[in-house]
Amino acid sequence: MILHTINKSPFDNHSFTECLQHCQPNCSVLLIEDGVYAAQQKTTFSDIISQRVDINFYALKADILARGLEATTLSSVTIIDDAGFVELAVNHHTVQSWF
């Protein structure tokens, strides 16, 4: 399975949308940098995340904290640290980065 990373805000860029169009069931999507805005609850994009129960969503803690999003990030998105990022990378056969 592929680990997809997204580093752009979905409000400004198509990376999130195009990534999800190409995601296969059971793959993982990790939101990093401005990509974490996709997990802001009660938005078009967090609704999409909630609907895609076939995908495992993660977001990088340092980027969430830096942007003040800890309290408003969708609870179904798993928050991980850098070590978690490494673990995800080694547990997937390849990485596809969307930017």
Partner: protein, 123 residues
């Protein structure tokens, strides 16, 4: 996954040409990869399909034409070239009129090709 020294690579091109250097750099990677005889598939998706538009003339913006770079693909034995149907339809681009021959695939097939790769380079 391929365990031999030849890796299965997918170059996933989703940026339009000329606006920035990403599209051109992806094509240059394709040519370099071909020189080293790696197993490469190139997929044009999203705004990347604009790269296949015929009759590009970049003289007046003073940069090299990317269409010429694409035309070199056949010479480098880069023959596994795909274009995504949904991306063409969204932009009203006719598959028959593309500047190079590219196999028409749907989004699902594009995802499967990525999934079977050892290395994915997304541009």
């Amino acid at each position: 996954m391929n365990t031999s020294s030849t890796k299965r690579m997918v170059l996933f091109c989703r940026k339009s040409p000329y606006g920035n250097a990403l599209a051109r750099e992806a094509l240059e990677i394709a040519l370099a990869t071909a020189v080293f005889e790696q197993d490469l598939a190139i997929i044009f998706s999203g705004d990347g399909v604009w790269q296949l538009q015929p009759q590009q003339n970049s003289a007046e913006i003073h940069v090299k034409s990317q269409q010429k770079l694409l035309a070199a693909f056949a010479m480098y034995d880069l023959n596994e070239i795909y274009v995504e149907q949904e991306a063409l339809e969204l932009r009203n681009i006719n598959h028959q009129e593309l500047s190079i021959a590219a196999t028409l695939i749907d989004r699902q097939k594009a995802a499967e090709l990525c999934n079977s790769a050892d290395i994915i380079l997304n541009f």
